[in-house]
Amino acid sequence: MTLALDVTGLAKSFGGLPATNDVSLAIEPGERRLIIGPNGAGKTTLFNLITGDLPADAGSIKLFGEEVVRLRTDQRAQLGLARTFQIITLFPKDTLAHNVVLSLLARTPARWHAFTPLAARRDLYARARAVLAGVGLADSAERPLAQVSYGEKRRVEIAMALAQSPKLLLLDEPLAGLSMEERQTVQALLAAIPRDITIIMIEHDMDTALAFAERITLLHYGKVIVEGTRAEVVAHPRTREVYLGA
């Protein structure tokens, strides 16, 4: 079976400082993989390399068997790769529905139409509202994004990714900055994502993250230190060393 994501020998340095150092990852389709590591371990850099936001210095990235390391970000997205951003990257002046419509447009040739009004595409707005309803934001669909809470914006981030029905979803700290209550909402939301979407998640909230993922990769100074099942990684002495400094 082809891997959802097959990364081998991936490397990226910033001015001689390796941020990603010979990283290899093999993610099975449908897998839930957690990436952990202390601050500066290179987790987000790894995501940016996978999505194409950063060009890799060396290595190979195969998305469902297809080599994508030379492709642009948008080309990789078109192959079924979606992501959320650690720092919320949305359109504050537009409504929640419009935010999701921009995501839906990326998957239809209509995005090149320059003469027909977008407002006439009721089908797109209806789908956007349905996706928003799926993350519990049905009532806020027509509100400008700037007016909703931080937790709701996090959910819009997830809604925009899910709207595209991606094959591989990268979640960059989807729970960061959320209250206990919001955490549970988002957690339930993530748990409900169907298995035909493979998920790789960076998360610091260990309770949530450990409950979510089957396999865990621990990064430290840009290197994969430990990889294995939940129990293996938690029990591994290097994990304790990196995390507890013991």
């Binding site: 999505t51 194409g52 936001d53 642009r72 970000t73 948008d74 997205a77 078109q78 979606a82 992501r83 951003f85 990257t89 949305l90 359109f91 002046k93 419009h98 419509v101 921009l102 995501s103 447009l105 990326a106 998957r107 209509a110 995005r111 090149w112 139409h113 320059a114 003469f115 027909t116 009004p117 977008l118 407002a119 595409r121 925009m160 595209q164």
Partner: protein
């Protein structure tokens, strides 16, 4: 712009030739020509977030090509106009490849440089452009045998071209492509992550803006029956950028209001005030200080506050 505003605007434009003499009608034509030009620049600046300081290149080249074809080959307008549009749009397609290697200040500098190259060329390539003397002895077209030499006739002609251009630009701004373009302005990284080809979206916009600038260039050369390197220069580019910013970039009405202000100051007020450029600077300063996002959004906000305080007054 809402339907009421659009109707009122159309009424003013249609009433102008009935009220004023030739002088005012000609002023109206000049405003409309400048407005088409400013609207085209607004596609880049307002909707794309790409500030260009070389947009006069497309207006000027289209004007020069049309004039040169007439003088060199005696070509009629029916043939020269499409060739000028095609040539200028192709040039925009070429320049876009160069300019869009950068965004932000880099983009601004490249567009400025490309514009200045053409300006220099217009001055130096005397055999084609007649240098500092410009191309004179040009004519206006006579569509369906209608003579456009009169101020009123030309105004109506310009108004039709303006209306078609404006309608297309409104459609463009409200289209899915327009929404995607604004997305690439606000969050290019997010748009790429969603699968939008940010570069191609900008490139298509660059060419579209070049095309509409070329349309304004034709109107410009037909109005003046003369073309001088000045039309290609930095002053023209900067003045138009001023129109867009003063009126309100990224709004549909803004560039038109901006064009009206600059053309009126330049042509009308300059008859009374010798240092009209100083006045222009002052007006621009006031607008930027009190309405940083431009006159149209600024006045709209004022109006909303004003009418909000007095709820009994009818809302427009």
């Amino acid at each position: 712009m809402n339907a009421k505003g659009l109707a009122a605007f159309a009424l003013v434009l249609a009433a102008l030739p009935l009220m004023g003499g030739d002088y005012y009608v000609n002023l109206g034509s000049q405003i409309l020509i400048a407005a088409v030009f400013a609207l085209s620049l607004n596609l880049l600046v307002g909707y794309g977030g790409l500030t260009s300081l070389g947009h006069a290149a497309y207006m000027g080249v289209s004007a020069y090509v049309s004039g040169w074809l007439f003088l060199k080959f005696g070509m009629g307008h029916l043939a020269s106009a499409p060739i000028a549009l095609l040539f200028t749009t192709a040039m925009a397609a070429l320049f876009g490849l160069i300019a869009l290697r950068a965004s932000g200040i880099g983009f601004l500098m490249i567009t400025l440089a490309l514009g200045q190259v053409l300006w220099g060329l217009a001055f130096r390539w005397v055999t084609v452009t007649n240098g500092d003397n410009g191309l004179s002895g040009l004519t206006r077209p006579a569509p369906f045998g209608i003579n456009l030499d009169g101020a009123h006739a030309f105004y109506w002609f310009t108004l039709i071209v303006f209306a078609v251009s404006f309608a297309c630009i409104i459609a463009f701004a409200n289209s899915p492509f327009g929404a995607v373009l604004r997305g690439t302005r606000d969050q290019p990284r997010r748009m790429a992550a969603l699968g939008h080809n940010v570069w191609l979206v900008r490139y298509v916009t660059f060419i579209t803006a070049g095309f509409w600038a070329a349309v304004s260039g034709l109107l410009f050369v037909w109005y003046h029956k003369f073309i001088h390197p000045h039309a290609l220069g930095l002053t023209n580019s900067a003045e138009t950028l001023l129109m867009v910013i003063a009126g309100g970039s990224g709004t549909l009405a803004g560039p038109i209001v901006g064009a009206a202000i600059v053309v009126l100051l330049k042509n009308y007020v300059s008859a009374f005030v010798e240092r009209w450029t100083m006045l222009l600077g002052f007006v621009f300063l006031v607008i930027v200080l009190f309405m940083p996002d431009g006159l149209v959004p600024g006045v709209k906000r004022l109006w909303e506050r004003f009418s909000g305080q007095r709820p009994k007054e009818p809302r427009a």
